[in-house]
Structures are given as C-alpha cells and as structure tokens.
Subunit: 191 residues, 2 copies
C-alpha cells in the first residue's frame, strides 16, 4: 500500500533494538484518514471472504479493526490482556510473549463471543515474530472458529514471523513489509 | 441517546459490585454500527467546538474515539498504561485508580503529541468515579492543553464522578446516565 509506505518513510523512526516507531500516526497518535484507507485496503483484500467477526488484541489493533469493520459491516472482538474484575465466566486464553514490552502476558476472550460457527479475520498493527497473532490463532483453535485471513498493517519481514505463518498456509496479507531497516533507511518488500 | 439506552436495557447485564457489563456491544465485542451512531452523537454535541485532537485512554476508549474522530476529521491520541520499550522521550503521566481492575496504574502520553496550542475533546466508554477522566485532565494540565469537553458513552451517575466534574465547570456530556441499577432493572437520568 503505497500511501502507507510513504507515510512510514516520512514519519516512521527506526530505533535501537529493531524498533520501528510509527506512534505519530498508527499506535499512539492515530491518523484516522490514513486508517480509513487502511480499512478499505483490508476490505479489498478480504472482502470476498465469508466472515462473521473481525478479531484483534488490545490495544494497538483496536482502532484498525474498528475502522476496517465499517467496510465489512461486522462486529469486532478484541482479546484482552490479563485479568480484570469485568471478565467473568469461561474464557479462552493464550500466553503471549510481548516483543515490545519484554514480558509474557495472557490474552483472554470470553467464550460466549466466539465459537465453531465463526469464520474470522484477524487484524493487527504489527507483525514481527508473530507471537501475538499466534496467541489469537490459539484462541480461535480453542473456539473451533475458522481463520479466513490475517491482515497486518506493518510486517517486519526480517524477523520471519510472517513468512512462517504463510508457510503454514495462513492467508496473511500485510500492507507494508519491511525487509531491512536501519537509522539510514527502510527497504520494503515488493508485494 | 435513545438507541444506546435501549441497547443497554436489552444487552447490558448488572453484576455484583456495581458492575454494568456491556461487553457484548461496547468494550469486548463491539457493534460498529452502534458506535457510528455514538460517534455522530458526539459530533452533534461537540462539533461546534474548535478542537485540535481527540484524546482517550487505552483500551476501551480507543474504538469509540477512532469511530467518532471520522466525523470531526481529527487525529486521536490515546494515553497508554504503564511503561513500554516503545515509549521513549519525555512523557506526561498521571496515576489512576482503576475501579474495574482494583489497582493503580500510570497513564502516559508522549509530550510531543500534546501542547499549549491544543484544544482537546476527551472521549471514553465509561465514567463512574471519574478517576480515568481526571488522569487525562491531569495530562492535559501538564501539557497546557485546553479541555473543550468530555464525552462519555455510559455514565454511572449514582457514583457521582460525573456530577463532580460538571460542578467544576467541565462540559461533560454523557450519552446515557444510569442513576440506579440492580439485577431487577436500570433507571436512566432524563437528559
């Protein structure tokens, strides 16, 4: 997605430790007009699938899933991190290693919202090692829900998580894949 | 907002400990069509203000702020909880007591995204004691940003936090105010 790549080149900042900061437009401050274009692109890629729900994980995926869901006319569902007094009943859960925060956390999703009759699209802002996405796949497996696709805004291709999921047969589409990055520049994969 | 009140009566569940669960349509699973109506209503209430940004706090506020922001054509900014490797530089911060989780957390927002030239609208899903909103007000105060208004989807009026903020002069508008609730029923305030 050319508009997105241009925005990453203009406003993205590469930091030590393989961090690509896009917090001025994607995951701290959010440019909603850009997100609408992202949502339309996900609809172009996955709109032909017979989907029941869009699933993401808090927090950075929520705005993306919400804006995209308007084009699909589907509800969104976001997995929550850790426990809350507000989560009761039976939940699906998966332990996820956070690359960003450097710790483990548990993602939970109430069972009543996802089941074998669901066919979901997973959306998220970033994919690096793929740990968060594998957490959502585990939750889908527990639910018996089918995963029709995985849509990612920015994939850090050089970390390999995306290609591993593709090799396993998932229909993973990323709007921008960064194959190399350094403070000197960013190289995108030709899609 | 009648549509919202009807939805709360249909799908909301009152639980022990003053918990009103609306997780089937507002903050776990999200009905995006309803959220669009919520966004339009916030625009009706605050669209006349000269705003620069919409500010919320992760996680439940994000979808609401993102959908509403489309009507305002403004960027959103969400305060994050606790520390992350991805947050660097100078941040504004406020300690917030979570009613839902029963613990304290720190909300942070990078200084570069908010300053004295900003005039913000704060949006959130719930207001009970008002602790989260006061955290965002504290962050706005540190930034020198003006707060033009506070928009809340559901206010638990009987907990008093909303009326305290109104007495202090804030332009706080809630789309539904619950003045009484029990497993037997919910009484809304006439707005």
């Amino acid at each position: 997605m050319e508009l997105l790549k241009q925005r990453i080149l203009t406003d993205g900042v590469v930091k030590e430790g393989n961090i690509l900061k896009v917090d001025s437009f994607l995951n701290h401050q959010i440019d909603i007009d850009l997100l609408n274009e992202v949502g339309k692109e996900f609809y172009r890629l996955f709109g032909g699938e017979d989907l029941t729900k869009i699933v993401t994980i808090e927090s950075s995926g929520i705005a993306i899933a919400a804006i995209a869901a308007q084009y699909f006319h589907l509800p969104i569902l976001f997995a929550k991190k850790a426990q809350s007094k507000n989560i009761d009943g039976e939940v699906y859960s998966a332990t996820i290693r956070s690359y960003t925060h450097g710790n483990d956390y548990t993602a939970i999703l109430e069972k009543k919202f996802l089941g074998p009759s669901d066919r979901i699209l997973i959306l998220d802002d970033f994919l690096a090692t793929g740990k968060a996405q594998r957490g959502l796949l585990e939750i889908a497996r527990q639910a018996g829900a089918a995963v029709a696709g995985i849509g990612i805004v920015i994939e850090k291709g050089f970390q390999g998580g995306g290609d591993a999921l593709r090799r396993e047969g998932y229909n993973l589409q990323s709007l921008a894949v960064v194959d190399e990055m350094s403070p000197q520049g960013i190289v995108f994969r030709d899609l």
